[in-house]
Symmetry: C2
Subunit: 207 residues, 2 copies
């Protein structure tokens, strides 16, 4: 349901940007590619109401979804690893998600440390504990090579991070109280390559 709320909000904001103040459940369902019944149930679950005749007030629904999804304070995010993927992520979120506050970025490369990159100060990775003690982060993004990822995860968890977006191609071992979401571009692409092949060829490979 969290994923659907994220999607609803995104569609509603675009809807509002198009100058349309109200939306019917079937319209939102069409945009989010779920059934109207699912939309109505989700909206009811988060305690918002519309009218069958006039639909939902889009702005009010965006607010209500925000009260569910967004922490009361802007959550602090720490990014570890400013290679090409880390920088793309920083740029992406700095532009499209101003509700997130990038507390600090960390990298081992001397030419990045001390600079401000896409609005975020880059510190040396060795200073992770010190920096996050002064300005704690709720969430960490790991964009370092696979070999370094577990160590970074351990240090982020000790520094109080409660959720990790892991872009490194390894499974992390973390305490059950820490939520980890893995995004592995290489695995995703290898899956696409596999399923893009003609079925006969795939079956022969397995035979």
């Amino acid at each position: 349901m969290v994923e659907r709320l994220v999607a609803y909000r995104r569609h509603l904001r675009r809807w509002l940007a198009d100058g349309k103040p109200r939306i019917y459940s079937h319209e939102l369902a069409g945009l989010a590619q779920v059934t109207s019944a699912v939309v109505r149930r989700d909206v009811m679950t988060i305690g918002y109401t519309g009218s069958p005749a006039k639909g939902y007030a889009a702005a009010g629904l965006v607010d209500r979804i925000g009260r569910v999804l967004d922490p009361p304070q802007r959550p602090g995010v720490a990014l570890v690893g400013l290679g090409s993927l880390g920088r793309a992520v920083l740029k992406h979120f700095a532009r499209l998600h101003p509700e997130l506050r990038f507390v600090a970025a960390f990298d081992v490369s001397p030419e990045k440390v001390g600079r401000i990159i896409d609005g975020c100060r880059c510190h040396g990775s060795a200073d992770l504990e010190t920096v996050l003690r002064a300005d704690p982060a709720l969430v960490g993004i790991i964009a370092v090579p696979g070999e370094a990822a577990q160590d970074v995860a351990d240090r982020l968890v000790r520094a109080g991070v409660r959720g990790i977006l892991n872009l490194a191609p390894v499974r992390l071992q973390t305490p059950p109280t820490v939520y980890v979401e893995d995004v592995d571009l290489a695995v995703s692409l290898e899956k696409v390559v596999f399923f893009a092949r003609p079925e006969t060829e795939r079956l022969e490979a397995l035979a």
Copy 2:
């Protein structure tokens, strides 16, 4: 199972790089975080055999997995969108996945068109059909803004692409014969932020 094979191969290559020629099912299971029974069943499914006493020959198993996962020819990949995310993806795969062949990249920005970026020629998006007619791609990667993604997908499909890695924050409509894998960094990060919050706070937000 495809995801597990991808993971096995990655762990086996690292194992071999550490100078270890043989691996037991429980060792591979530990690395891939599945049970030994799952490893043994997967390996049997792809027609490879080991011995209970000596385990599997790691190099042979890598080869066998490759015969299942990798198409007979190096698959052609077309990348559409060379913003920060598209460029990060290109850099990432060009360096770590030489088995993929980037046929072409496409962008609308005049300062990118005609240049070679990370080893891949960048064409104007208007030339997508012409370029892919001369050098077809099995797979397309979509890294354009959400508004443009569906149109790009339609054109890739007409140009013969059979699988799409979609990095744009929209659901694509494609024929059932085309495999689509969505990677939406924003949704992943919003999920992490949500689940990183203390449980009491999350429940209050829903109440």
